[in-house]
Every structure is written in structure tokens, then in C-alpha cells.
């Protein structure tokens, strides 16, 4: 956590002093992520989405009043659930994966002086920095003769830090970003905004380590709110 905060603060410090048409902000939001994969050969199994969080520091350079370039370093949680259904309902494993992400997008703005709509289109790169797993699975060797259930095999509840497998896990991620939202200029300095974002990943969560591998891709929806500050206006206020 400390490393993630330091990463964001480092990027924030890079932008300090570059005023011109620059804007700098802070945003927070919730994510809804799932994995695109196949479970067609797995009995009573489905993959379900998980809600997570995102926090970021959007940095924007406005070329004119309708076109900008925005970079959005952020920490995003992307999770999913391996879920058993039918007679195995109640067995599951939930993965909550944390990514350090850097989307870079073109932003198109339209509307009035204060209230504007915008669209973001771009790409993102990310690093899978951490993982937490929790779940409840069938424990193959834990027969309890005193159990009152039909099946006396006991389940195993767990909640622990996930460990990375060097052979399997692909910790670098890339994908595309499409977003849309509204901003409102509260004061000459501050602007508030709300944005919905769609981020499909085009890199597999796994390295290519086996033949006929079944791919797994993150697919993330995000809604966020934030506030940004025009650095050129800050300069004139300080003067």
C-alpha cells in the first residue's frame, strides 16, 4: 500500500511547476470487473464479476477548449469469482487483484462554459502488483463423521494474500479505454467531474505456458467522481 501511494505521489510531483493549460486532479470510483474466459468444460462452474475500487490522479493537457490529452495514473482493483453452482453452490474462490495503471487518452469536450460533456478514448498499461484470495472450497481429505450434512466432507474457508506463480502469471497488462462523462466548472480554478469508463484488456492474465491454453482477460467497468484544478489559474491566483 505504501509503495502504491508513493508511486502516485511521484507522478504528482512530476507535474508540479508545469502550469500552462495543464490540469491536475484526484478521482475515486468503483469498478466492476470480470474475466472473459471459458468454463464450458467445467461442471457447475461460472465466473462472476467483483466490485472493487479505483483511485487516481488525472493529469490533463488542454490543446483547446474541445481537445485534450489525459494521463490517469491510478490504482485499480480488478477481481472475479470462480463460482460453483447447483449441488456445489457455496463453493467459490474470489480473486481481488490490484493493478497500478496508466491510461493515456484523447479527450473530446463539448457543451457550454460551465457544464461540459466529454469522451475519452485511449489505451492503458498496468502492472499487477498484488492479490488477495478468499473462498470456501471442498476439502478432499477432511471427512467429519459427526457432520449432520449428507456429504460429510468438510469445506475449507480461507482468506489470504495471493501468491504469484512465475510460470503462470502475466503481471503486465495492456488494454483499451473508452469513457464518457460530465464536468462542471465550479470556480475558475476547480472543476468537478463524473465519468463512466469501459476497459477491456487485450493481454491474458497468464503467460503462454501451455498448449491449448484457455485465455483469461480482464473486462472492467468503472464509475468515478473527482475534482481537478487548472494549474494556469493557480499560477495567476498565487501571483
Amino acid at each position: 500500500m505504501y509503495r502504491k501511494l508513493s508511486f502516485l505521489l511521484f507522478l504528482f510531483s512530476l507535474s508540479y511547476g508545469l502550469q500552462a493549460q495543464w490540469s491536475l486532479g484526484v478521482e475515486t470510483g468503483i469498478t466492476r470487473n470480470t474475466v472473459i474466459t471459458s468454463a464450458s468444460n467445467l461442471s457447475f462452474t461460472t465466473y462472476k464479476p467483483v466490485t472493487g475500487y479505483a483511485v487516481g490522479l488525472p493529469v490533463r493537457y488542454e490543446f483547446n477548449n474541445w481537445f485534450s490529452i489525459q494521463a490517469d495514473p491510478n490504482i485499480t482493483q480488478k477481481g472475479y469469482v470462480y463460482d460453483r453452482t447447483g449441488p456445489y453452490s457455496g463453493y467459490f474462490e474470489e480473486f481481488k487483484n490490484t493493478y497500478l495503471q496508466l491510461p493515456v487518452m484523447a479527450q473530446f469536450r463539448f457543451g457550454g462554459q460551465k457544464l461540459k460533456g466529454f469522451m475519452n478514448m485511449g489505451v492503458f498499461g498496468g502492472y499487477w502488483s498484488g492479490s488477495h484470495i478468499n473462498g470456501n472450497l471442498l476439502n478432499a481429505l477432511n471427512y467429519n463423521p459427526n457432520s449432520t450434512t449428507t456429504s460429510k466432507e468438510q469445506s475449507y474457508h480461507f482468506s489470504e494474500k495471493g501468491t504469484f506463480d512465475k510460470t503462470r502469471d502475466n503481471r503486465m497488462e495492456m488494454g483499451m479505454v473508452v469513457g464518457a462523462g460530465f464536468s462542471y466548472q465550479l470556480t475558475p480554478l476547480y472543476q468537478v467531474f463524473v465519468e463512466g469508463r469501459y476497459m477491456p484488456s487485450f493481454t491474458d492474465l497468464q503467460k503462454q505456458y501451455m498448449h491449448n491454453q484457455v485465455a483469461r482477460y480482464n473486462l472492467t467497468y468503472r464509475i468515478s467522481v473527482g475534482v481537478s484544478m487548472k494549474l494556469s489559474k493557480l499560477g495567476s491566483i498565487i501571483k
Partner: protein, 403 residues
């Protein structure tokens, strides 16, 4: 001009959205092995290879290069024709070659059409036994326990039973005491849950279970011997039924993990493997010795491991078979055993693949899959001993208990 620019922008946006919205929206569906049609050997091969690829639980420790097996054998199967009467013989031979070095010592192929069966572990050990007859211990004759050992038990307490199980297996069980000081139990299969087929052997087990309390409370008793030599294993409930009787609280004997996805390395966390005592169990404090040999398989090996894990336990004998992975249905754990080839009203499937549903590792973190559990005290049975009427592991256990 502004309108032309805006239109270009709009067009560009639509193209971008089209790319984004269709990117990664589909991963090809995977066909389960049991749904591959048996219309060509290529199809059967694909069903088998992918079935093992996705369901085999030992890929993290098995050194067989399964991708190489695909590259090497896919063209060979493609050349086989279902119209060739000799093709199936060749196909079976190829499947045996592909799997001969897999470490899963439960692994077994059963072919519906030829009736053939193949176990890589049995195949490897048979080869070794041919060259070095004494290297892997001795397959004891059926009457060794029900006659030879039965005859040296105290006549007032000795009891033996023999049944034929529903799968045709000849089950045997023996109990009794040595010199009124050591309680003894033997069985060659943990199948007592099949109460219909164990009419003669179940009473032997019940008598032993009743006598555990006497062994603990009667001061003249020195200990218990559980003999699982030449035992093929069985259902896990016997751990509680038999060993659980001697415990007051759950005993951890190792850990297991199962598959949680299609990737070879998609594993659950390690989960504790425990023996849970039934209600009314006692705290057995006197020595427990488990005798096992190279032909102690699966649950019999767990009995040996439990003796090692208990503070008052000891495992005497030989290194066991090496089949430690528990088994259940494929649907329970999304791993393990599966069938290849589509079952229809006109045809049988092609083969059953019997393989472990979970990995197991002992308390020390080590997996004995394919290697066998090593004894605390190594005492093999040799052909020479047998011919001289000497049961070295049993005599060693008795000497330890009787001083």
C-alpha cells in the same frame, strides 16, 4: 470545414468504439473430453490430451512434457483409421507410451473396446521387479494373513473373515491378540462401508474397534498393530472409523489442493488434511504401530502417514506404493478422473481415465506421489524370509512392543 473535421472525428470514434467493443469479447468454448465424437482417432486423441491437460492435478511437480506429447503423437493418431482393424491396438500402445512416466500412481486407463487396462505405476514397477525381484518387496500370497498370521494369534481372540466385494475383489480381514498383550488388525481393502458385501469381514473390524478400548485400559496390553500390507486402499471415512477412534481431537496429517480452473497451474490454496474423531472416541496413549509395504496403496499409505504423525505412532516396513492423491468425482473438484468419447445409445465411450482429484503433501511439505511414504523403521520382507516362514516386519513390531 468545422463540420468536415467533426464528421471525421465522429467516424474515427465509431471505428475506435467498434474495435474496443469487439476486443476480447470471446474465448473459444472448450469441449469436455466426454463430448468428443469417436469418429476418428484424431478426435479421441484430442479429447484425451485436452482432458489430461485440464484435469491432471500433478503438473506442478510432474516432469512429463505434455506439450511435447501433443506434438509427437497428434500426427501419429491422425494416421490411424477407424476402418483399420489393427488401428485400435496401435492407439492403445500410443496412449500407454504417452502416460508411462506420469507420477500419479493412481493413474489408470481402461479401454472400452479392447478391454485393455494400463497403469503407468504398475508398468514401471513390473519392469523394475523383473530386473530386481527383491527391489520392491514381495506380493504376499492371499493366505499369508488369513492363515499364516491367523495361526499365530491367540486362539481365544483370533478372528478372520473373507468376502468377495461387488467389484470381484477378494477382501480379507484378521484380528486378534499376540500373547494377550498386543492387539492386531489386518485388512487388504478399506471397503467396510459396503456393508452388503462385507458380511464376513465387517464383524472382524467391529471386534477390533471394540477391543481398542480394552487395549488402552487393560494394563497388560502393550500396544496395537495395524497391518496394511498389500492393501489397495479405500474410502476416507475409514480414517475416522478406525484411527479416529484413538483420537480425542482432530489430527492434521498433511495438506491437499485441487484444481480451480483450466490452467495446469490453477490450484486452490493448500487445505489441511485431517482425521476427525467420531463422538465417543477415546484418547489412545499406548504405542500404535502401522506395518505397510510397497503394495500398500492410497488410503493404506495414509494410515502409514498417520502413524508417523502421531506422537505414539510408528511406521515399520517398506516404502509404500506412492498413490497419495485423494479421489472423488470430476464434478466435485473440476479435476481428476474423466471419460473420453461420447456415450450414445449406439456406442460406448472410448476410455475411462482414472486419476487423482487432488495433490497431497505430508506435514513436512513433501509430496510422496510416485515415490512412496518412507517408513520410520525400514524392514522389508524378502522371498528368502517368506520361504523360511519369517515375517520380519511383524516380528520387529512385536519385539518393540513386547521388549
Amino acid at each position: 470545414m468545422i463540420l468536415k473535421t467533426f464528421n471525421k472525428l465522429l467516424l474515427g470514434t465509431f471505428f475506435y468504439l467498434a474495435i474496443v467493443l469487439t476486443a476480447c469479447d470471446n474465448v473459444e468454448n472448450i469441449t469436455p473430453p466426454s463430448q468428443y465424437p469417436i469418429t476418428s482417432y484424431s478426435s479421441i486423441f484430442e479429447g484425451f490430451w485436452n482432458g489430461v491437460n485440464n484435469n491432471y492435478v500433478f503438473w506442478s511437480i510432474d516432469t512429463v512434457d505434455w506439450d511435447k506429447m501433443y506434438t509427437r503423437y497428434q500426427p501419429k493418431f491422425a494416421k490411424l483409421s477407424v476402418n483399420d482393424p489393427y488401428a485400435d491396438q496401435q492407439a492403445v500402445k500410443y496412449f500407454e507410451e504417452m502416460t508411462s512416466n506420469l507420477i500419479d500412481s493412481h493413474f489408470n486407463l481402461s479401454f472400452y473396446y479392447s478391454g485393455n487396462q494400463f497403469s503407468p505405476a504398475e508398468h514401471r514397477k513390473a519392469k523394475l521387479l523383473k530386473e530386481y525381484p527383491d527391489s520392491l518387496g514381495v506380493l504376499l500370497p492371499p493366505g499369508f494373513f488369513t492363515q499364516s498370521i491367523y495361526s499365530i494369534l491367540d486362539s481365544t481372540t483370533a478372528m478372520a473373515g473373507v468376502d468377495t466385494l461387488s467389484d470381484g475383489y477378494p477382501m480379507a480381514a484378521v484380528t486378534g491378540t499376540f500373547l494377550g498383550e498386543v492387539l492386531y488388525f489386518y485388512c487388504n481393502s478399506f471397503s467396510f462401508s459396503d456393508t452388503i458385501s462385507t458380511q464376513n469381514t465387517l464383524p472382524v473390524l467391529n471386534k477390533f474397534l471394540q477391543n481398542i478400548n480394552i487395549a488402552e485400559t487393560n494394563p497388560s496390553y502393550k500396544g496395537i498393530i495395524i497391518d496394511v500390507r498389500n492393501n489397495r486402499g479405500g474410502s476416507v471415512d475409514h480414517l475416522s472409523t478406525i484411527l479416529g477412534q484413538m483420537l480425542q481431537k482432530p489430527l492434521k496429517i498433511g495438506e491437499t489442493r485441487t484444481k480451480v480452473g483450466n490452467g495446469r497451474l490453477d490450484y486452490s490454496p493448500w487445505m489441511p488434511a485431517k482425521i476427525n474423531p467420531p463422538s465417543g472416541s477415546l484418547n489412545y496413549t499406548k504405542p500404535l504401530i502401522v506395518i505397510a509395504d510397497h503394495f500398500s496403496v492410497s488410503l493404506a499409505e495414509v494410515f502409514a502417514m498417520t502413524a508417523k504423525a502421531m506422537p505414539n505412532g510408528l511406521f515399520i516396513g517398506e516404502t509404500t506404493w506412492g498413490a497419495n492423491g485423494p479421489l472423488t468425482t470430476n464434478s466435485e473438484t473440476n479435476g481428476g478422473q474423466f471419460t473420453v468419447g461420447e456415450l450414445t445409445s449406439q456406442q460406448k465411450p472410448y476410455m475411462d481415465v482414472y486419476t487423482s482429484s487432488a495433490q497431497f503433501r505430508y506435514l513436512n511439505g513433501e509430496s510422496y506421489e510416485g515415490k512412496g511414504v518412507p517408513p520410520d523403521v525400514w524392514v522389508p520382507i524378502t522371498l528368502k524370509d517368506l520361504n523360511n516362514g519369517v515375517d520380519a516386519p511383524l516380528f520387529t513390531a512385536l519385539k518393540r512392543l513386547l521388549n
